[in-house]
Subunit: 249 residues, 2 copies
């Protein structure tokens, strides 16, 4: 029987709590673990997308996400001192350590992704990471033409990779990936629009709140439709879509 | 006939000049290329260690090195505004862009290392990268017990990986790696001690200049002896060892 999203989240917490870091990273262990807090949306997606994914791919997608937050919070970027009610890594450990802790999170993510016999998980993850970094710079420098393209890079790429890493890790043949990719793209859009509604920025500034809500609902509906086209038990993913559409934090 | 180190260096420059970045990194292209300047010691080693290494592994080791320099130069770390007579990336493009350009160099390095059918090149590179980051933090926080261990992490790991990535990329069976690893370890030590002699820090502060010189010469001698144990044409590597021992910049 498929497990509920909340059970998957607990499994993810277990994986991350037991994660053994590379021994040479011992001097960075505290800031690395500090930087690993979060809602676990992406690793839950990876777990829900593939059976027998393994802890490594699941942790890897979360570590890439954490890396991006640790660097984004830096004074030179977003200059955030708090995240989820706690001090950010640089506020707690200093800027230099936060730069290195972010680097270490990214490196560890690739190390974990490379524990699989084939390089597919790591390749999927590296492409998403590069898209994300490119999106960050586009956002920083301004002058991007299209908010949807910016979000596809900044948020969508790693959302898609979370689903796809789950599939690669579980060994699903590549020929069966396309409907999953289509699903993941809708999910990334859904997540970002709801985020903007909750924060009152991005799409809300561009479209207003009610049009943004309609966009989110349409993305959720398309995501559910895509799931219907997939020849697998996607009940948990369907529950995740509903949860993301309805979330209030 | 084996090519001279200078010819290999030109080959490396060619590879790096023609390197096509991930399209999504277009907004970071200028700072990434700016951060790619250097003496090319590591990629030349990769090229000299394996035949038919391919441009990707060669570029990957140099990109990891460049990533580390771009982040080390940041105001929160070494606060360097110049490197090799040019503005550092943060001095030229701003701190935020330098954080992202460093991240991008690391990500691109893994993407390149992952173009090989087997994950060995990428695994070798990720382990070295993590050791290097751990060493940086150890240096930053102080309190390390042993200068040799610090240098093994900060410099030696990527030196070894440069040689080993060359071997993996060329498909040399793992059973033949041990004498190469022993050679690479001596080479990393040699490089670092000579660096300290040229900069008047590190080993020179700990041992004085004449003992440091003796240490470098002993490392060079052992490196040459290790090469003698390798069943391959190592004439170019022998020339590289002599060049590193005698270098004045």
């Amino acid at each position: 029987m498929p497990r509920a999203p909340e059970e998957l989240r607990e499994l993810v917490e277990g994986y991350l709590g037991e994660l053994a870091l590379t021994p040479e990273l011992a001097p960075l262990e505290a800031p690395i673990r500090h930087g690993l807090g979060g809602k676990r949306v992406r690793p839950v997606l990876a777990l829900a997308s593939g059976e027998a994914v393994g802890a490594e791919a699941v942790a890897a997608v979360e570590l890439v996400h954490s890396f991006s937050l640790v660097h984004d919070d830096l004074p030179a970027l977003d200059n955030d001192t708090e995240r989820r009610g706690r001090a950010t890594v640089w506020a707690a450990y200093g800027e230099a350590t936060a730069v290195l802790a972010g680097d270490a999170l990214l490196g560890e993510a690739f190390r974990l992704a490379l524990t699989y016999p084939r390089p597919d998980v790591a390749r999927e993850l590296v492409n998403a990471t590069l898209a994300m970094i490119g999106g960050q710079q586009l956002d920083l420098a301004g002058g991007y033409a299209d908010l949807a393209e910016l979000h596809r890079l900044k948020t969508g790429a790693l959302f898609s990779a979370s689903v796809l890493c789950g599939l690669w890790a579980a060994g699903l043949p590549e020929g069966e990936h396309p409907p999953w990719r289509a699903f993941a793209a809708e999910l990334g859009l859904l997540f970002q629009v709801v985020d903007d509604i909750l924060d009152g920025d991005g799409y809300v500034l561009e479209l207003g709140e009610s049009k943004s809500r309609a966009l989110a609902d349409a993305a959720a509906e398309r995501a559910q439709a895509r799931l219907g086209e997939i020849d697998a038990d996607t009940a948990v993913l369907s529950e995740i879509v509903s949860g993301l559409a309805a979330r209030t934090s």
